[in-house]
């Protein structure tokens, strides 16, 4: 009789302790109240206010052509366009380097059947010319490309063509955008082939080249 009630007492004590423990836990969780799960005080995004700038890269180098000669350090000697073109009578029908006597010979043009003067301004070779005769600077080259590449220009303006960095939320920071010629060589505008980087590691037990397996 005595023995049984001793065991019984131990069981009761343990049970009471466990119940106390659980009650403490409940109390603690009530006392803590709302944790980070309470999102009633989240900030609300507001589009208005001052917007940071979207800067478009601009090619600002003086346009030059490779003379084919090297200086003493072995660097190519570059010549300003107007050094020659100031006085030379332009042939507006030229479309390949093979037809030229000086310089330019190393260049190859793979931009449809455009003539040099389709884009370069024959009155001032250090600027460009639109189809309607308007002169544009090299740094505004996008205006020139847009004449033929309307859909790309539209997509660029809608933010879905051309790389960028910075902020999606212009109320919090600026954005920097590529210019057409950052990616496309105007003389051979097809985007060049590249070797892919960062090959995925094959996990032991899977075969490479088999496809995407988790």
């Amino acid at each position: 009789m005595q023995e049984i009630s001793k065991t019984g007492r131990v069981v009761v004590v343990i049970a009471v302790l466990i119940i106390l423990g659980l009650l403490t836990a409940v109390a603690v969780s009530y006392m803590q109240g709302a944790g980070t799960g309470d999102r009633s005080n989240l900030e609300t995004w507001t589009p208005g206010g001052t917007q940071h700038e979207v800067t478009i890269n601009r090619p600002d180098l003086m346009p030059m052509v490779d003379s084919g000669k090297k200086d003493r350090q072995g660097n190519p000697v570059m010549i300003r366009c107007n050094n020659c073109h100031d006085t030379k009578e332009p042939n507006t029908l030229t479309e390949s380097a093979a037809n030229l006597k000086d310089f330019h010979q190393h260049m190859s043009f793979r931009h449809n059947s455009l003539k040099c003067a389709s884009c370069h301004n024959p009155e001032d070779y250090e600027s460009l010319r639109l189809a309607d005769g308007t002169t544009v600077s090299f740094s505004n080259v996008m205006q020139l490309c847009a004449q033929c590449h309307g859909p790309q220009f539209r997509d660029y303006n809608n933010g879905s063509h051309g790389g960028m960095t910075g902020y999606w939320d212009l109320s919090r920071g600026p954005r920097q955008r590529n210019n057409c010629v950052d990616c496309h060589d105007p003389h051979a505008p097809a985007y060049p082939k590249v070797m892919p980087v960062f090959p995925p590691k094959t996990r032991i037990g899977t075969k490479g080249g088999e496809g995407a397996k988790h």
Binding site: G35, T36, E43, W45, S160, T165, G173, P196, E210
Partner: protein, 321 residues
Amino acid sequence: MSDNKKESCGSGCGCHNGAPDESLFNRRNVLKAAGATLGVAAFAKAMAPITEWKETTSVDEFLQTHYRELSNDQLDEVIARLEEETKKDYGADVTITDHRPQMGVKFGYALNLSICIGCRRCAEACHHENNHDRATSNSYIRVLEMTKGSMDMEKGNVHYDHPVPHPDKFYMPVQCQQCDNPPCVDVCPVEATWKEEDGIVVVDYNWCIGCRYCEAACPYHARRFNWKKPVVPKNEINPNQSYLSNRIRPQGVMEKCTFCLHRTREGRMPACLEACPTGARVFGNLLDPHSEIRKVIDTKRVFVLKEELGTRPSFFYFFDE
């Protein structure tokens, strides 16, 4: 696709998917109760063989509560502890922030398949931005090489190794689609993963028990498991970290793309977008009618992957016309 039907844990437990604070007898309370009864250390020791308890797990970490139940003070303590641990284990000084979502923001991502050249720079950027294990070259992005005319992502090849783009192929990077109806969240038996107010599906790495149900449930193969403790050289660690995103994950837990919430909740672009040399990626706020992402959705013929599964992704694909 066939092996990726939406799964439940199969135990008939009726896996719950309510808010994390709904259940009273969750892991925290049970542990606390037992701890109060037996003494924390003794209890933890006693449980050691049957829990994820490891030599490296501190008592604090073991008893840490669910992220969404932490008070702000508790969270500060947890973050201080995590920063200290990173210093101890990796030698790096890092800042872990708790970036909260904003109301009025729902993130969307779109990818122009006509422009993507398959260079994998996005996958590489993810690897560095998110402090992935160097040995496994882990990344949340897989770029699939697809045969023109096919849209079945299960037929894509990730192991291509030749100059890109190949003229007969197109390239489809796949990462977490931040589904509005995420099967990965439904199957989690401990509610360690959930969808936040801005649409990002996150994981509390300290609550995850590593059962990998979510990995099996995700139809996009978007989840990654930390088989080993991640190895990242000290000087390569990205010190700008967030509790729910790129802090260094412990071994044995699940992780996934968070749309770089440590950047995007600060208004910045995700790392994969900034790394993309072609501008194939468009990111922004779906709730802002003037955003770039909305312009894409309004003017392009966008589609989502495996639409028939009803996962409702926030990630869209399109081709130029």
